[in-house]
């Protein structure tokens, strides 16, 4: 049998890297164990952590299922689907604001700030809370500190959205070793490479984003040929559509407009989501909603549901066609299609995919979990535990600089395999000019104003020279995370030229640093407290066992000296029991363990003897 994953046992002691799917609706954390990728459940046993964050009046963050309840009780302190705002400016999200109950703080500049109770938080800070919860879950499950992660992002995320995700990781105290595109992560989890070499399409329709990627698989290499998508298209849009209809319905029936009522809207949203989910396996269902003693009930057939959402499903198909065209393969050459994301449970979506790709899609793996599992595989690749696989991904959008007249000069084309780079030569326009400003944009349009502004890079302290004499070589490098790095060099002197980055949307380095300091202090505190708690629990166990053993026959078999040693070790442990130093508690636990070794052995032997004799031991 071929080895599923080649495991390097020497790395077992090294720091573990977890894989995280930071989703619009739900988030998950997974890791590689000896048999393959596994999702890590939370303390409540749940595998999905809803990406919902609530700030309690006492200033604590509540995340996940608990926060979902608060979404209804305390909508003004709770936020969901914040991924939609990552790396975006106020201008971009106007449309979202009409559909989502985001409360934008008044002083939002090129980074949106949300009002949560009395605090104002940026989307990366809120996402960091979700990541922190996943980090804690992983630490509790694995019994070790977790500081390194692979985080997935929609393939069609631009530079600012990727940077914002990375910032969120750093704020949560995680070193983000790699951002992986969600559809590609899913293909890793499917292990399709084991079955055959060929071409695979991954259709990823999640809560808030849509991605399509086409890959060539060959002997463990996953080469992305092309990717496309829409970072603002997902199950959320279906929910909003149904919600609008239900609100209108209720307004007509009750003569009462509930749309301004946060709690009612959240309850009704839950009701339409339930109906939507049921229609994936039932021919009809009801939207049921109770409010202040009145009840609303409306039948919804799958047929009508499909008519309503046809437009949304159709919107996923154009990116698919573009992606096929860009990949250089024909539909017939695509061997398999993989479905990812909760929205692919909808039968109409499955039919649309089947029609377009003329292939029956794969649905073996849970579409909610497959991305996290893939992230764990990628973590295994980075840790050197998975040696036979390699992902070669692409940049989803072309990168260019603004030139004369606002026209974009393309430097890196979309669907270029990353890492990739381009070099441009810049000079000065006037005598003695010290600075040069470079405006970098992302997108496919001809004019800079129609593309996404990424950042302005300022070349500083150029030696004063006649106009046009300076020769500054600027290197634009997109790394394996799909994030742009810019460096500059004076061609004449060979010296590094300083570049100042002014991101168009997103946090500056200083802002992120400040947030990290604040959160790390808290996280370290949390982690320490937990360690102490766990050490005390362990002490409780061994103290109770020792106490019990004192009453056994085996205790009498010990020498006086041995008994004294045990008593001494017990007292030592009791002495440090209430200290805040978990290392010390563990040290004393170990000492007591040592002292009671012989006692334990004697007790075990007498238990075995008793068992052999057939007598029952109490």
């Amino acid at each position: 049998m071929s080895q599923l994953f080649q495991i390097d046992f020497s790395s077992a002691k090294r720091k573990r890297i977890v894989g995280i799917d930071l989703g619009t609706t739900n988030s998950l954390v997974a890791f590689m164990d000896l048999t393959g990728p596994k999702v890590i459940p939370g303390p409540d046993g749940e595998r999905l952590v809803p990406s919902i964050v609530s700030l309690t009046p006492t200033g604590e963050f509540v995340v996940g299922h608990a926060a979902r309840k608060l979404l209804i009780d305390q909508p003004e302190r709770t936020v969901y689907s914040v991924k939609r705002l990552m790396g975006r400016g106020l201008e971009d999200v106007k449309e979202e604001l009409t559909l989502f109950p985001f409360r934008i703080a008044p002083d939002s500049g090129n980074v949106i700030k949300l009002q949560l109770g009395e605090r104002q938080l940026t989307p990366p800070e809120i996402s960091a809370q979700v990541l922190l919860q996943l980090k804690r879950n992983a630490e509790a499950f694995l019994g070790e500190e977790v500081t390194q992660a692979v985080i997935t992002v929609p393939a069609y995320f631009n530079d600012a959205q990727r940077q914002a995700t990375k910032d969120a990781g750093r704020i949560a105290g995680l070193e983000v070793l790699r951002l992986v595109n969600e559809p590609t992560a899913a293909s890793l989890a499917y292990g399709l490479d084991k079955r055959q070499n060929g071409v695979v399409a991954v259709y990823d329709f999640g809560g808030g984003t849509f991605d399509i990627s086409i890959l060539r698989l060959q002997d463990g290499i996953f080469e992305v040929l092309a990717t496309n998508g829409d970072t603002h298209l997902g199950g959320d849009d279906i929910d909003n559509l149904l919600l609008r209809i239900a609100l209108e319905d209720i307004a007509a029936e009750w003569g009462q407009d509930l749309s301004g009522h946060g709690e009612a809207v959240q309850r009704l949203r839950r009701a339409v989501i339930t109906a939507k989910e049921e229609l994936s396996y039932l021919p009809f269902t009801h939207i049921q909603f109770e409010w202040e003693g009145r009840s609303y009930r409306r039948e919804l057939t799958r047929e009508l549901f499909e008519k309503l959402i046809a437009g949304i499903v159709e919107r996923t198909l154009e990116p698919c066609r573009q992606c096929i065209a860009d990949s250089g393969v024909s539909v017939e050459q695509i061997d398999e299609v993989v479905l990812v994301g909760g929205s692919t449970r909808i039968p109409l979506v499955r039919r649309a995919v089947e029609n377009l790709f003329k292939a029956k899609p794969h649905t073996e793996l849970n579409p909610d979990e497959v991305v996290a599992l893939g992230a764990a595989v990628q973590a295994g690749i980075l840790a050197g535990e998975v040696e036979n696989k390699l992902l070669l991904d692409v940049t989803p959008l072309s990168l260019g600089i603004e030139t004369m007249g606002g026209v974009v000069s393309k430097l890196i084309h979309r669907n270029s395999t990353i890492p990739t780079s381009a070099t441009e030569l810049f000079t000065t326009a006037v005598d003695g000019q010290r600075n040069v400003l470079i405006h970098v944009v992302q997108g496919e349009r001809e004019l800079a104003k129609d593309c996404r502004s990424l950042a302005r890079f300022e070349l500083k302290d150029i030696e004063p020279m006649p106009a046009g004499a300076a020769r500054i070589e600027v290197k634009f490098l997109i790394d394996a995370n799909g994030i742009l790095n810019v460096s500059a060099r004076d061609q004449r002197t060979g010296k590094e030229q300083s570049v100042e980055v002014k991101p168009s949307y997103g946090l500056t380095e200083d802002q992120v640093e400040a947030m990290i300091v604040e959160s790390i202090e808290k996280a370290e505190q949390d982690f320490k407290e937990r360690q102490v708690r766990e050490a005390r629990l362990e002490a409780d166990t061994i103290l109770a066992a020792t106490e019990k053993a004192r009453a056994s026959d085996a205790w009498l078999d010990l020498s006086e000296q041995e008994r004294q040693q045990i008593t001494e070790a017990t007292n030592q442990l009791l002495l440090v029991y209430h200290s805040e130093d978990h290392h010390l508690i563990r040290q004393k636990i170990d000492e007591l363990n040592q002292a009671t070794l012989k006692l334990a052995e004697t007790m075990l032997n007498s238990a075995v003897r008793a068992a052999l004799k057939g007598t029952k031991l109490e």
Partner: protein
């Protein structure tokens, strides 16, 4: 060209990795050199792909997560070169342009807008037909399609000629051959743009 000694163990080596301490070296900014190939114009794209995958396994940043910052930087640069090189070298036209540039030829966009004199009349007629089609005259479609096929055939012919010249240069390395290739590439670029434009207009007016 002599390579400097290994940055880590200071011994002599050839290739991307030091033969003594296995440290990744600063890559040379040349696509052929990253692929470990001689500068040739004819190449087997299938073999190029195999080589690309093989080298990706060695050079990709995923393989250097737990290595020194310097090696991580070299890995980034080397795999970026490899990726760009694969994109350029697998395409005969881009490959030829790259070699021309490396051999000191200026391969700017000049001349691509000028109609080659021998095509003047045909291009004029095609443009007329295109205008008519854009105005909604579906009868012009036949003439446009006919012209498209003719120009596409011309492009194919150029590709065959290029292939021969590629082999010729690989064998003899004569500058005159490159000169010829450059002329042919300019002509090809013009015809190729024409065909693409015709295809766009034809789909849009459908």
């Amino acid at each position: 060209m002599e390579q400097p000694p290994c940055w880590q163990c200071n011994k002599k080596y050839t290739g991307l990795f030091c033969a003594h301490c296995n440290a990744l070296q600063c890559p040379v900014d040349d696509y052929y050199s990253v692929f470990g190939m001689e500068r040739k114009l004819s190449l087997d794209v299938q073999a190029l792909q195999a080589k690309f995958y093989e080298l990706s396994r060695l050079l990709h940043p995923d393989r250097f997560t737990r290595r020194s910052p310097l090696e991580r930087q070299y890995s980034l640069e080397a795999s970026s070169l490899l990726n760009k090189g694969y994109r350029v070298l697998r395409n005969p036209v881009q490959r030829a342009e790259y070699v021309l540039k490396k051999e000191g030829f200026d391969i700017g966009e000049q001349g691509t807008k000028d109609v080659p004199p021998e095509l003047l009349e045909e291009v004029f007629e095609l443009n007329m037909a295109l205008e008519e089609l854009k105005m909604g005259d579906q009868q012009a479609r036949g003439a446009v399609e006919e012209a498209r096929q003719r120009f596409a055939a011309m492009r194919d012919e150029i590709d065959r000629e290029l292939e021969q010249l590629f082999q010729q240069w690989d064998e003899k390395h004569e500058r005159a051959t490159l000169q010829q290739i450059r002329g042919l590439l300019n002509r090809r670029r013009y015809i190729h743009n024409l065909v693409t434009e015709v295809e766009n207009v034809a789909t849009l007016s459908n």
